[in-house]
Structures are given as C-alpha cells and as structure tokens.
C-alpha cells in the first residue's frame, strides 16, 4: 500500500467517525426538543424520514402517505438543506386523528432537513413510489478526493 493511500484511509476513518458523531448529535438534538409533529398555524404535518449515508451517496426516504403526487416539491435550500412539501389528498381535521382538544386541519406534509454530509445538490435524483419519496444525492467529498 502506498503511503498516500494509507494516509488517506486514516483520514477516511476519522471523517467517518466525525460524520457518525454528527448524526448522533442530530438525533440527540431531536430527542431533546419535544415538539408536536404537526403545526396548526401551517396546517402541516412533519413526515417520517430516514437518511442513510453511503460511501458515494446519501439516500433519503420520506414517508408521504395520502398525498397528491403532483403537488410534491423538493427544493434545495443552500448547500446541505432540503425543503420537502406535498399536499394531502384532502383536508384532514385534527379530530379525525384523535386530537379533540384543539381545532384545526392538516393540508400538507412539510419539513426542512439538514443533510449530515456535503452533497452535490445539482445531481439530485428523486422518485416517488407507494407513497414514499426517495432522494439520492452524490456525496461531495468523493469528487474532491478524486482530484487530489
């Protein structure tokens, strides 16, 4: 093994640990802030989502049941944040969901998600199947390393 390669692999290992720590920190922050999953003001509910970091890409899935596919929007906000929104097939009153102490309705899914590692937003690929949105983004550092 060349010295350069060995050096790079050590850096890779350190980077992986840092990324793992950042993911843990994000999860920890989420558990600290107990907040409702829905916003009465915006008539919106936050969808369930899952982010997986692979060596060359980041994949994110978002559970968007009961949505109109043609209203689905995925917008990059800056370098590492995505805004996702989609309207529900009909307005859902909060009391239909068992929330009796407050009036209101849900009309859309909406969330902002910060990605844990740098990605190439311009190469984003999306697909929507069975009510689940899948977003694939190539990682940025892979390109940077190839140039070295």
């Amino acid at each position: 093994m060349l010295a350069d390669e060995r050096k790079r692999s050590v850096i890779d290992i350190i980077n992986e640990h840092i990324e793992e720590f950042e993911r843990w920190l994000n999860q920890f922050e989420e558990t600290l802030t107990e907040k409702p999953s829905w916003s009465k003001k915006n008539s919106a509910i936050e969808p369930l989502k899952n982010i997986t970091v692979h060596p060359k890409e980041v994949t994110m899935t978002v559970d968007l049941p009961f949505t109109k596919e043609n209203t689905l929007q995925v917008k990059p906000l800056g370098e590492n944040t995505l805004e996702i929104s989609a309207s529900t097939k009909r307005k859902i009153r909060l009391n239909e969901l068992g929330i009796k102490h407050q009036e209101g309705e849900i009309q859309k899914f909406h969330c902002h998600t910060r990605l844990p590692v740098p990605v190439q937003m311009d190469k984003m690929e999306i697909r929507f199947k069975k009510g689940i949105l899948e977003i694939r983004l190539p990682r940025k550092h892979e390109n940077r390393r190839r140039k070295q």
């Binding site: 558990t31 999953s37 369930l48 899952n50 899935t61 009961f66 529900t88 199947k129 009510g131």
Partner: protein, 248 residues
Amino acid sequence: MGEEINIIEKAKIPSGATMFFGFPDAGLVGVIAASEMIEQLKLAEVAYMDSKLLPPVIVLHEGLPHSTMRIFGDDKILLAISDIPVPADLLYPMMHTLIEWGTNKKVKLMISLSGIPVQDRQEAKELKAFAAASTPEALKMAENKGVEILTDGYMVGPQAIMLQQCSQKGIPALAMLAQCYLNYPDPEAAAVVLQELEKISGIKVNISKLLEKGEEIRLRARDVMKRTQQEMTNVKKGQEYDIPMYVS
C-alpha cells in the same frame, strides 16, 4: 423479575386460550394487526399491566383512563398490546410477566405478531411472511400448515424474548413475521401477517379494510412510529439486517 410488573384482571380469563402479542416494533406490524383483530373480533379489555416501572402515560378513551399496556380477549383468544413503544429496559420484565401469566392461564399457544425489515421493501410486489418457533413441535406445526420458516438470522425485540423464554420452559410459541419497512408504518405487512395467521390459528380477519385504508393508517400511526424508532435504536433493531453467523 416478574414481580416488577403486575397484571390486573378485569374479567374472567379463559383457560386454554391462544395468546397473541402485538407490540410496537418494525413497521408497527404487530400493533396494526392486533388493532384490526381487536376491532373485527370485538375483543374486550380483560386485563391490564400496572407497574411503577411503566412510563407515566395513560391513554384516554371516552374520557376515562386506560393503561397503555392491556390484554384483550374473548373465550378463545387473549391478546396483549401496547399503545406506546415499550422502553428497552422493560422488555424482559414485561415479557417474563406476560409469559408467566399466560402459563398460569394454561395458554395452549403463544403467537407474537411482528415484522421483519427488508432493505428493498419499496420494490416488493408480494410480501412474504415467516415463522420461527420455540420448540421443534411448534416449528413442525407451522411448517405443516404451509408457513415458511425463518431458518436463520437475528431476531430483536419482544418476539425474541418470547421465543427464548418459551423455549426454556417448553411452551409452544411462534413468532409470525411479515417483510416490512423498518421505520415506516406498514399496514400491507400487517395484512400479510394476518393472512398467515389464519393458516395457523384458523382465526379469520378481513384484511380488505387494512389495504383500503392503508394510507390513512400510515398517517395516523406517524407519531407512534417516530417514538418506536427511538426504542428500536436502543435495542439495536438494525441487527436483524445482519448476515447471521451461527456457531454450531
């Protein structure tokens, strides 16, 4: 360990029933399937679990408090369900208590309803269900009734404890698992596990409503799934994806 959680009986408990478990786990398969059984089979709340170890949560129904961990039943069925994810450190004492209680009630078979996560769930055209058993006889029975056997792999969660403890005590038990999403509610998988259950127990549950209302169920189950994700992380549920290495 069993003394830490008490089961308070509210009605006469039948002897020789089949006992089911439906706890929040992968895809909420067990909870969704159990809820459908309770509704369609018109099972009544016959007992509940009480303990200082349980989270300080009640569930309100028509203005009255109920335990989040309850047992429903009729003259042939007992079904233990939890409305909220079971904290990781409560899994052992809870399952120990339930199995001991079920044994005292001369339960003839214990069946845990749950899911087994698969990576390509979104691509699956037809979901499969599997069974694993506590004893060779129970395994043979499932096999003879046409249920595919989960021969190898890791199992994490309430069904793992159930199989292990029932195996130690020689109690016949089955874990029924449908392929499912790990982190998203999966009513389709719940429908599959109920279909397979009919082969084993003869209990027929109409799955058409589960399939028709699937998207609404997913939306409604969103918050329970979110909290279940946290508990699944605590028990390292992702280990079920691992390549098994059985040392023989």
